[in-house]
């Protein structure tokens, strides 16, 4: 049976974030003056997704291990070593969030697939979210619009302020108007590479699930294909299938938005936590390493061992051996050896090593 316990703290934070977003829609679109009413369904999807994402993120942060890293990340970043850690933060963000470089060593094709998918999605988010919220809109420069023979100028406005102007028919105009089509192609190629992997890799075949692994890929393809359908329909077919494409595209995008907090796409929101981990380990190494009681070798930072001792206690796990020692003072190799030695001792005292 489905049962659900409302997390009041998360609900309050998510409600506040959603109201803030709605307020920013009003402000950013100049009291809806610049809001594109054709995008109303997308707006509702985005508002719901904001609530869901913030709610789940707030619930996630309340888990003791998650809170530990969240808290430590900001403590370390704003410590006395702000500039070197800010540099590390930015460097790792570009490398691991922008380019997902950590996936490259897991396989070149896998990285290309993920990079194309993620880049396509990020470009599409960067364009569609501000458009949907009414924060960006385009107008024709009225002076150039009146002259039929003159070069037409297009103006981009952000939050109601004119930000830049470009000529219709220029390369910039082509890039701006077709960026979503290019994003769709990137996503389609990336998804194809991932689908090929999921069809052929024995390990993935054994562990994958439809809802967790295939549905996200299918959904991304559906969004991209219907999006391309919209653009190519009015470019090449005179808009004959426009309504159908518009409705199917809206449906797929809204399913995607509403599903972000619940499914695999939530990893997009979780991934930046990895940057915090780099800061945590850099600070840990600087403060000093813990030495294993069995191997006599350094194995992780003292900070990590101390934090794990506190964390396990908080979770109701007690590895305390005596006043001064914990099982957590042993490295993984030390732990395995301690287990083997205890096993040997038990065998010895029974009088039989085998049997």
């Amino acid at each position: 049976m489905f049962s659900y316990h409302l997390n009041k703290k998360a609900f309050a934070i998510a409600t506040a974030a959603t109201l803030l977003l709605v307020a920013l829609v009003f402000i950013g679109s100049r009291k809806l003056q610049n809001f594109d009413a054709a995008l109303i369904a997308y707006l509702f999807g985005t508002v719901f997704a904001t609530f869901g994402i913030v709610y789940r993120y707030a619930v996630w942060l309340q888990r003791p291990p998650t809170w530990l890293y969240f808290k430590r990340t900001w403590q370390i970043l704003f410590s006395g070593r702000f500039l070197p850690y800010l540099w590390l933060f930015l460097r790792k963000s570009v490398r691991n969030i922008g380019f997902q470089y950590f996936i490259r060593s897991r396989g070149a094709r896998r990285w290309w697939g993920h990079f194309l998918m993620a880049t396509g999605c990020m470009l599409a988010f960067a364009v569609t979210i501000p458009l949907t919220l009414g924060w960006i809109h385009f107008t024709m420069d009225p002076a150039t619009g009146l002259d039929p023979a003159g070069v037409k100028l297009y103006e981009a406005h952000v939050f109601g302020f004119r930000v830049f102007t470009f000529k219709l028919g220029s390369i910039i105009a082509s890039l701006v108007f077709n960026i979503l089509s290019w994003s769709s192609w990137l996503v389609i190629i990336g998804v194809a590479l991932f689908m090929f992997r999921r069809f052929t890799n024995g390990g993935l075949i054994a562990t994958q699930s439809f809802g967790g692994d295939w549905l996200p890929l299918v959904l991304l393809v559906a969004i991209s294909v219907t999006g391309l359908g919209l653009a190519y329909d009015y470019s090449f077919l005179g808009g004959t299938a426009y309504e159908f494409m518009a409705v199917t595209h809206a449906v797929t995008v809204i399913i995607f938005l509403v599903w972000i907090p619940f499914g695999k796409f939530f990893h997009i929101i979780q991934r930046p936590a990895q940057i915090g981990v780099y800061l945590y380990h850099a600070e840990g190494r600087r403060k000093g390493m813990a030495v294993c009681r069995h191997t006599g070798k350094e194995f992780t930072s003292k900070q990590h061992v101390d934090d794990l001792k506190a964390l396990t206690k908080e979770l109701g796990i007690d590895f305390t051996i005596n006043e001064n020692t914990s099982h957590l003072d042993y490295s993984p190799e030390g732990k395995r050896s301690a287990l083997a030695q205890a096993h040997l001792k038990a065998r010895e005292s029974s009088g039989r090593y085998f049997g």
Partner: protein
């Protein structure tokens, strides 16, 4: 996780580390497991090299209430309906190493090159299809065995399988068994 219907629930994993001869056959075989992507997830190490050549072998014990999953900040580790604790979800793992340092058996690996935790998942590509894990198929000394409890009792009448452990004050129960002297019910580490 949707799992195949071929998993044999009557089959269990038994370890007897006193039988480990350090041949590393399991280490090589483990890399054949497709769920690991050719990285070996089994540990064979000397127990106390200064005094003995005894080696020990360790696979994931698949705890009932896995500490690795509880200390994971990213919800990346899950246990399925057969009690198999799966390796980190690649989309979620943030490479913090909490699981590596907190696992009482010292099992998970932090693969620095992938920025990812990986561990034994009982050769899920094989066990979910009714086959034995790779390591258990190649172990020449019987340190690693995968079969029925009855079969094990017949082979080792002087031993009992034990899956309760005490690490400090923490009691841990596992899916995988360790072969102990007859009558033993628990292995107390740091005794």
């Amino acid at each position: 996780m949707e799992t195949a219907n071929f998993y044999k629930t009557e089959m269990e994993f038994f370890i007897d580390m006193q039988r480990c001869i350090g041949c590393q056959a399991c280490v090589v075989a483990c890399a054949e497991c497709e769920t690991n992507g050719q990285d070996s997830m089994i540990h064979v190490n000397y127990v106390d090299r200064a005094h003995t050549i005894q080696t020990t072998v360790q696979v994931c014990m698949h705890c009932e209430d896995p500490v690795c999953a509880r200390v994971c900040p990213a919800d990346a580790i899950s246990k399925d309906e057969f009690g198999v604790v799966h390796t980190a979800n690649t989309a979620r793992c943030i490479g913090c190493s909490n699981c590596v340092m907190a696992c009482p058996f010292g099992v998970p690996f932090k693969q620095e090159k992938y920025d990812l935790m990986m561990k034994c998942n009982l050769c899920y590509d094989r066990t979910s299809a009714g086959k034995k894990p790779m390591c258990a198929t190649v172990c020449p000394s019987g340190a690693l065995y995968y079969g029925t409890r009855e079969g094990m009792r017949k082979m080792r009448p002087q031993s009992d399988p034990v899956n309760h452990f005490l690490f400090g004050k923490e009691a841990v129960t596992t899916k995988v068994n360790i072969m102990m002297p007859k009558g033993a019910t628990m292995l107390k580490v740091h005794g």
